[in-house]
């Protein structure tokens, strides 16, 4: 029998040193990647610890020469620091209110979004309610550019007197993150064997009971991932907050934009606020990291 591969077997032994070069290249690539993804944030952190004189210093330094916490202090007590920075920073306002707002609006909206999304996803997955149309339709809501949708919403909200109220933002946030809630939980619910639920039905459990004592505990992890992911989306949302808040319910990103646009170049406090505003989400992000993979694949990876 003629062997097609004979010329290949005759080939020389594998050259081992090649792998060392690969190893070096690979680690170079990995380190470059890490540098690329971490440098911008490191820079932000660096600025947030610099005194005003160093904000714009050229050549710039990565490590602050005279590190200071003033930038963080003024976020919450603008009247505190004295001197040059103090004088410039008097024009800012404490960020406490926006944090309080965000910590009310975002969790509530997230909760509503995930509950509605989860229940609907359950109906879609288990009973095919709405067929293929409904989940798709819900996904399209995610595609509306906020700027476009804000136009009519503004008039509608004015009629409902919902502008600049936490409830108004909660409804918007809950509504526009529904798509993710639905699609992510859908992926997780699909991972629950139908038979486990049917076993419970045959054991005599009512549909609600099945949902709450069997399905819910089983998708707990996924639900946590969804919740926290939606939390991130809501926490970082900017445009709706910019348009639909003014005095009472501004959120952290809007506050941030006030700082960014404020008089003078307050890079230090602006950076500090950026850092503070990112901490909750990044922390939560790490908590859900292992679920993100399954959550983002919308159940497509299970085949």
């Amino acid at each position: 029998m003629k062997m097609l591969g004979s010329r290949r077997v005759g080939a020389s032994q594998v050259v081992r040193p090649k792998s060392t070069i690969f190893w070096i290249l690979r680690w170079a690539a990995i380190l470059a990647t890490l540098a690329f993804f971490s440098f911008p944030t490191v820079w932000l952190l660096s600025i947030s610890f610099k005194p005003p004189i160093e904000w714009m210093a050229f050549p710039p330094t990565l490590v602050p020469r005279n590190p200071t916490f003033d930038n963080y202090v003024v976020l919450f007590r603008p009247e505190l620091p004295k001197g040059t920075a103090g004088a410039m920073l008097r024009v800012t306002e404490p960020v406490t209110k926006s944090f309080v707002n965000s910590f009310i609006i975002v969790p509530v909206a997230t909760f509503i979004s995930v509950v509605c999304g989860f229940l609907a996803a359950y109906a879609v997955t288990r009973f095919r309610v709405g067929g293929a149309f409904m989940p798709f339709f819900v996904l399209t809501t995610r595609m509306f550019p906020p700027a476009a949708f804000a136009v009519p919403l503004l008039l509608y909200y004015r009629w409902l007197r919902l502008i600049d109220t936490p409830i108004g933002l909660i409804v918007i946030y809950a509504g526009f993150t529904l798509a993710f809630s639905l699609w992510m939980t859908k992926g997780f619910i699909e991972g629950v064997p139908r038979h486990v639920e049917e076993a419970a039905i045959l054991d005599g459990a009512s549909p609600w009971r099945v949902l709450f004592t069997i399905t819910l505990p089983l998708v707990k992890g996924g639900l946590a991932a969804t919740t926290l992911f939606v939390f991130i989306l809501n926490w970082t949302e900017f445009l709706y907050a910019l348009i639909f808040t003014s005095t009472r319910s501004i959120t952290v990103p809007v506050q941030l934009s006030h700082y960014v646009g404020a008089v003078g170049r307050f890079y230090g406090p602006q950076a500090a606020l950026g850092v503070v505003a990112s901490i909750p989400v990044v922390a939560l992000g790490y908590m859900i990291q292992k679920y993100l993979v399954t959550g983002f694949s919308f159940g497509l990876l299970k085949r």
Partner: protein, 365 residues
Amino acid sequence: MASVEVKNVKKTFGKVVALNRLSFKIEDAELFGLLAPPGAGKTTVLRIIAGLERPEEGEVLIGGHVVNDVPPQLRDVAMVFEDVALYPHLTGFENIAYPLRLRKLPRSEIERRVKETAKLLHVEHLLGRKPNTFSGGERRRVAIARALVRRPRVLLLDQPFTDLDAKIRQEMTAELKKLQTDVKQTMVLATHDFEEAMIADRIAIMHNGEIQQIAPPREVYDRPATTFVAEFVGSPAMNLFECRVETRQGGTQFLHDGFTFTLIGRYLPGVSKVVLGIRPEKIVHVEGGPVRAQVEVIQVLGEEGIVDLKLPDGTRFKWLVGEQELHMLDRGMELPFVFPSTELHFYDGETGVRLCLFDKGNEEE
């Protein structure tokens, strides 16, 4: 405990007819086997009995009452699913206790019953653990315990031992049989493995949504009602040969491309084509036998061997031989065989239905 009756049940999925006017009755405390190849609708039957699917036509009766409109929660039917379906987030104990908790039994009572059932199925050591630490066999046991703990009127077992390895499967099957004798529970065992089904009191064999035969296991094996059953039950499967039949003076002649032989004094009236069946273990190698075949492949199974034989026309069939004869065989040998007339099965060439031989042919007059 209760009897179950399925009357004229029809179920279609899209255009596929899964169940075509199915009827059978399961007696109280019977172990009923439902044997069919995968995809033949066994699971659908169980799900219809459980109430998880609605039949399009026909009725399901449990304990003599029509339950078509009773939701599954109220039917008091338990089912062990093919994939076991234990509650992954609950411990062994909580899994078994779940149906009891739903019924709001007192704590002490629940504990007593769970322990009792666990003992019956030898799973006491699993009560404190989560299902993901169980082995395949252990999962089945716990699942059965969960189904049994509330003594349902009917216990449905959907291919309960499929993915277990052969050794454990055989063990579990034997145990299930013993359990059934002990607890006298109405059980339906659906499986595609005839060896598993053989422990049942009666077996129903399904094919294409229809029932082919309902009979005790031995009868199913000895007198398969159709060619399908004949081929499906037994390992290695029964050899089937399509033959033309000619009724001759004094007997019936069977004409196959690979052989021809005559049965003296037996008649098959009214058919011209039959399917002739013989189990591989019943074939006898005799010098001067009418069927000559060539040895193709020899597969040794310890004490016995399966020999693939080839007829002159290329038709292949199997022969099960003992150890002694096995040694004498070699590839390429041509051997004569006899199909003993008492071991032959006859089926209508068109419909595949079992035929009876008559000692006297009708044409004789």
